[in-house]
């Protein structure tokens, strides 16, 4: 076990180093892209806790991101709160909403839960439209442009990058501690067999609801950063596709692997924004001729890649990592 701990600490240290030094080597625009990857990563870690550990599926986490984003927007525009102070509040509001959703979720099994949460993602954008007097309705709210506080001299994009990744790393550590201690073990017991867990004296409902609350908290933080980055929220800032993207990232990353989720976040961001690049690459293959500019081609590329990944990597990147590293860690373990 010590070897695994060491390996995880080492890879975390590597990640921190990479995060700190990466902006020096990429353009300003790329650092903004990496910031967006970080936002996806935060939301995915939360979703990983929910799906990978407590075993509940949510196809509606975009709605919790929207709640976070709107909290930030309302606090900033209507109450003049500085953007970074709204982030924790956004997380807490979304987390509270998550607890509320977690209660009816207790009664529902896999597919029913998946579809009800999908319903939440679809129905949620209607609420800001209805209650337009403090959410800005369909036009939305315009926030201040992101700007480094305390007189720091960085570009807005670099500031976004450091802000996002500082929060992401902090939340990653929180998740790691949570999953390696009692809550994490309890969630796994619940995931593997609810009946057996209940028979062993675990309060199943409380832990399942808690998982929903925590994962919604993560989504809320990500949504708040999203709002700060785009400096604008309206019902279309958090489309239904966002919830779908999160689940895609989760499946590609491997639901119960924190390291894999990083790959999942990058995958979703890249494919969402650069699906035409995949088509261009396919165009170079022999016997294949596609025009990346044609409408529908990016969608075909996204779908085809998704199907291939699921068929080739059924346990996601996390499962692959696990298989590659197991000989290493088990040998270290047996010698220590």
């Amino acid at each position: 076990m010590k070897a695994k701990l060491l390996l995880e600490a080492l890879s975390f240290a590597l990640l921190v180093v990479a995060v700190v030094f990466l902006p020096h080597h990429v353009s300003d625009f790329h650092s903004r892209e990496l910031a967006t990857v970080g936002m996806y990563f935060i939301a995915l870690v939360g979703l990983g806790i929910l799906t990978g550990y407590s075993g509940q599926i949510s196809l509606g986490h975009g709605a919790f991101m929207a709640i976070g984003g709107y909290t930030t927007a309302i606090l900033e525009v209507n109450h003049g709160v500085r953007d970074i102070w709204t982030i924790p509040i956004a997380g807490l509001v979304a987390g509270a909403a998550g607890l509320l959703v977690g209660i009816p979720a207790l009664r529902l099994s896999g597919p029913y839960l998946a579809l009800v949460t999908l319903g939440i993602a679809i129905a949620f954008p209607q609420l800001p439209k209805k209650y337009g007097h403090f959410t800005g309705g369909t036009t939305g709210e315009i926030l201040n442009l992101p700007k480094a506080p305390f007189g720091l001299h960085t570009t807005p994009n670099h500031w976004l990058y450091y802000l996002t990744w500082a929060i992401a790393l902090m939340l990653l550590v929180c998740a790691w501690v949570l999953l390696r201690t009692k809550p994490g073990r309890t969630w796994q017991a619940v995931r593997d067999s609810e009946t057996a867990a209940a028979a062993s004296g675990i309060g199943v409902p409380a832990y399942k609801t808690l998982a929903f609350g925590i994962s919604a908290f993560y989504a809320g933080i990500a949504g708040s950063l999203f709002a700060i980055a785009t400096s604008f929220v309206n019902p279309d800032t958090y489309p239904i596709v966002l919830s779908i993207f999160l689940v895609v990232g989760l499946a590609v990353g491997g639901a119960s692997s924190l390291a894999g989720l990083l790959a999942g976040a990058a995958f979703v961001y890249y494919l969402d924004n650069h699906a035409d690049a995949v088509a261009r690459w396919a165009d170079h293959l022999p016997f294949v001729s596609v025009n990346p500019q044609q409408s529908g081609i990016p969608s075909v590329a996204f779908g085809a890649v998704l199907i291939l990944v699921v068929l080739l990597l059924p346990t996601g990147v996390g499962g692959l990592l696990h298989r590659l590293l197991r000989p290493l860690t088990s040998r270290l373990y047996s010698r220590s």
Binding site: P111, G119, K130, V305, L311
Partner: protein
């Protein structure tokens, strides 16, 4: 708010049942796949759209067939497509976790949606349906042949499917394969092909739904997306493994959305969707497997 009249109520009920019939058709396809393979098929809407485009091309582009000449051809194509998708792609994830299967069908949905716009372009197309839109006046409500046709087809298909699953040997084998794969294999049921048949039937149902809906909403690559979401809601409401539930769920959903949007004060068109969702959640709280679904007993 406008004054209440009985004839308007009748009209709203007719509209609600018509919309419900559309949701029911696609919900039925979802239920057939879920029953036979335990897969929630997110590609159902795009499969239906794709086959409807094939029908359009048969009628307007490749050959100038009439609707009823194209109809059987399209059903055969849809059936072959559904079986092909199961044998080529879905069979590899049969025993995978729910999440993996969901992602596979989502990928399939994206792929088909993209292919549809690549082949036919994104522009809306007029689709000549089989029923006339001429309305007759019944108790103050305007009912068209099209409205009656949609509901009749939905109900008719349920009856046919129920008879098929209840009284034929193939239907029995399909039910057996869905309930317990190992035991079915042991008694000689070719489980893999039963699952493929389930996909084939669902594709056929989707094609029928698509061809009935296209005359109402215009044919474009995204036409089934909203319908699919309502179909999911209908299937969950009725119970994911109950064909009767799919139709009843669809019609309840259609009626609720229309009537609540019209008659409940404060609920306007923007709140219809959240209210419908709330209704479903409340129903599921009391019946976690939907109105007609069975709660399975799990062993530790």
């Amino acid at each position: 708010m406008l004054a209440f009249t009985w004839s308007e109520l009748a009209q709203q009920v007719v509209d609600g049942i018509r919309d419900g019939g559309i949701y029911a058709l696609l919900a039925l396809a979802l239920v057939i796949i879920y029953r036979s393979t335990r897969v929630i098929n997110f590609a159902q809407g795009e499969m239906a759209t794709f086959t409807t485009f094939v029908a359009w091309s048969l009628m307007n582009q490749w050959a100038h067939l009439s609707f009823w000449e194209a109809f059987p051809l399209v059903l055969v194509i849809a059936f072959a497509g559904g079986v092909g998708i199961e044998r080529l792609l879905v069979r590899w994830v049969e025993d995978a976790p729910l999440l993996t299967v969901v992602i596979l069908t989502l990928g399939l949905a994206l792929l088909l949606n993209g292919l549809t716009s690549v082949i036919w372009g994104g522009a809306e197309k007029q689709f000549q349906g089989p029923f006339s839109t001429q309305t007759v006046d019944i108790a103050g409500a305007q009912i068209s042949e099209q409205d009656i046709g949609i509901v009749a087809v939905a109900v008719g298909l349920v009856v046919v499917l129920a008879l098929f699953f209840r009284f034929t040997k193939l239907g029995l084998a399909m039910r057996a394969a869905a309930v317990n794969r190992q035991s079915s294999r042991l008694v000689g049921v070719r489980v893999g092909w039963m699952l493929a048949l389930g996909w084939g039937f669902a594709a056929v149902l989707g094609a029928v739904a698509g061809m009935l809906i296209a005359p109402i909403v215009f044919l474009d690559p995204n036409m089934m997306q909203t319908v699919l979401l309502y179909a999911f809601a209908a299937a969950v409401l009725g119970g994911l493994d109950s064909p009767v539930g799919a139709v009843v769920g669809g019609i309840i959903l259609g009626l609720t959305i229309t009537l609540v949007g019209r008659y409940v004060p404060y609920v306007d068109s923007t709140l219809k969707l959240p209210v419908a969702l709330l209704l479903i959640i409340v129903v599921l709280l009391f019946r976690p497997a939907g109105l007609f679904g069975r709660v399975s007993v799990r062993r530790v």
